[in-house]
Amino acid sequence: MKIVACIKRVPATDVQAKVAADAKSLDSAGYQYMTSFYDEIAVEEAIKTKEAKGGDVTILTISSKDATKEVRECIAKGADGGVILVDEDWMNRDCRATAKALASKLTEMGAELVFMGRVATDRDNASVGPMVATYLDWACVTNVVELEVGDGEATAKRETEAGLETVRVTLPAVITCDKGLNEPRYAGLKGIMAAKKKPLEEAACEAADNQAQVLSLVLPPPRAEGRVIGEGADAVPALIDALRNEAQVL
């Protein structure tokens, strides 16, 4: 089975967001990057599926060429190769353009089962997975916390606001992975050395133009300083009043 795990290279969690001079994008100078948290779960599930059912796993991303470190780290965990669709403007690509480019490459690769994170931790859209499935005319199960892959089909449990839903889909399918599905393994040092010998293809990314245009980007206002209402039991009525009437959380 041809398994593909799609990952997104996102700014490391501790970077300080700064708006660029165009007031529409982030100034990425000096950024450190990492694989998006949920995509690590997708990579783990892809490798676990290969280990249980056979096949091979390819890591696929749209990024600048600098993504080799993140892709090789995923390969080091047990994937068989990687593909970078090189797009120097990947950070500003909208979901539709990203999904179209991924879907086109997935078709070319002959993918049969695709794993992605539930959401990328930078833009928080949670859209690319379902959109890729739509462009491919495949089934899609989102927010998966438990998965069993059978012959030509898969049974998935997904978290919804109403509770746990169990879904059966026929393959091929796109699975978007949620926290709890697995515990991502560490890339071992032998794996890192082995990853050097595995294929890592850099292909041109023929991404469509953005349909969604960012008009402006404004950072959230700094949080107001806290206020001490009083001390001890005497302050409780004032605290309740503030929670009810100012914060309006009661």
Binding site: A12, Q32, A187, G188, L189, M193
Partner: protein
């Protein structure tokens, strides 16, 4: 990637290859997620987290710079150094465990051993199925190991070992010991399984340093080993001293990790802690401390990058290793003491890491060649005159 931010004042990041950075990040993440949550309890209990040994093996840190054909990762020496640095950011005891296993047990078996010894022990040691220790120091012979009293006598087709070794990391938990003993007055190395009759390794307790590490005596009372246990070629002190050069190389890297951990803790604390209405880090005395530490750590980092490249080129000398070990461990201990001071009363709590590093480094500055002995090694190199003879 772990949110831990390492000081990189001279932008050394791009001096490391992608593989080297991947190796560092893999170990860094493991230390943050798996080791640091456990270390305080183990330090207080005086135990090493043996439950993590399979994970360390799976990660591939044992003998990581030895060839893949023996089950090792086959990394270069810069990678090995960066592993030590990340491990010692966790605790000197953790780095010691890995240094002993890799540089003092696996390396001599690889460098001096017969093919049979390599095939028997290296895969087991790489996979953590076997733990090893290194017996050189004796109760009365530390800086002058040539005076050792442990002896080997030829006995039929084997040898009989007698003597005592002291301050042996991992002794009590080991399956195999590299024992250095005099055979007909000449220092020789033996690969000694720890379950042989006459071999015992009582643990040395009551330490205030390296508490998350097992330290032991080795007692050898008529321990009979087969002829195949001896390293066939290597003779004299050159044997153990070359092992120590390997280990000291890792220690010099490791010490930068301990210093970086203390600096990072001191910097974060001093930016948050307010004194006299402003952050401690905004005070001139605190800034002098931070500036001095940042400078010394950066110098240590530069030294290690160059030393690592020299080792990979095959031109590193033992005097260079002496300089790096001496400088960096002393620097790390000074950083730990400085940050301990900056933390105020919190600095004596094990809830902060610096006090633990400070106590550990009192061992690290002594073992594998004391600070003073390395001073003499460097003095010998630059003057051409040995002061210890």
């Amino acid at each position: 990637m772990d949110p831990y931010k390492q000081l990189d004042f001279f932008a050394l990041e791009d001096q490391f290859t992608e593989d080297e950075r991947m190796v560092r990040d893999a170990v860094r993440t493991w230390v943050s997620e798996r080791f640091l949550p456990l270390v305080q309890a183990h330090y207080e209990a005086g135990t090493f987290p043996m439950e993590l040994v399979p994970e360390l093996a799976e990660l591939g840190v044992f003998g990581s710079n030895l060839p893949e054909e023996y089950g090792c990762a086959g990394l270069n020496n810069v990678c090995y150094g960066m592993i030590c640095r990340e491990l010692e950011r966790g605790d000197s005891g953790l780095r010691s465990f890995v240094s002993v296993q890799g540089s003092l047990v696996m390396w001599p078996i690889y460098a001096y051993g017969t093919e049979e010894q390599k095939r028997e022990w290296l895969p087991k040691l790489a996979s953590g199925q076997a733990i090893g220790c290194f017996g050189l120091t004796e109760p009365d012979f530390g800086s002058n190991p040539g005076g050792m009293t442990t002896v080997a006598k030829k006995d039929g087709d084997g040898y009989v070992l007698n003597g005592r070794k002291m301050w042996i990391t991992n002794g009590t938990v080991s399956d195999v010991a590299i024992v250095w003993a005099k055979l007909d007055g000449e220092v020789r190395g033996f690969v000694v399984p720890c379950d042989l009759p006459g071999f015992s390794a009582p643990e040395q307790k009551h330490k205030f340093s390296l508490r998350a590490s097992v330290t032991s005596e080795l007692v050898l009372e008529d321990v009979r080993v087969p002829a195949s246990a001896i390293f066939p070629e290597i003779k004299g002190l050159r044997g153990p001293l070359q092992c120590l050069t390997q280990a000291r190389y890792g220690i010099a890297w490791g010490a930068t990790g301990a210093a970086e951990a203390c600096f990072s803790e001191g910097l974060a604390y001093s930016k948050e802690r307010e004194v006299f209405g402003k952050p401690l880090a905004g005070m001139q005395l605190a800034q002098k401390k931070l500036a001095d530490m940042a400078t010394q750590i950066t110098l240590g980092q530069l030294m290690m990058l160059r030393l690592g490249r020299l080792k990979d080129e095959g031109t590193m000398t033992h005097s260079q290793v002496s300089m790096a070990k001496r400088n960096n461990v002393h620097m790390a201990l000074e950083c730990a003491r400085t940050v301990r001071d900056m933390l105020g009363a919190n600095g004596i709590s094990l809830e902060f890491h610096t006090g633990r590093h400070m106590c550990n480094l009192e061992s690290v500055i002594t073992y594998e060649g004391t600070h003073d002995i390395h001073t003499l090694a460097i003095g010998h190199e630059v003057s051409g005159i040995p002061a210890y003879r």
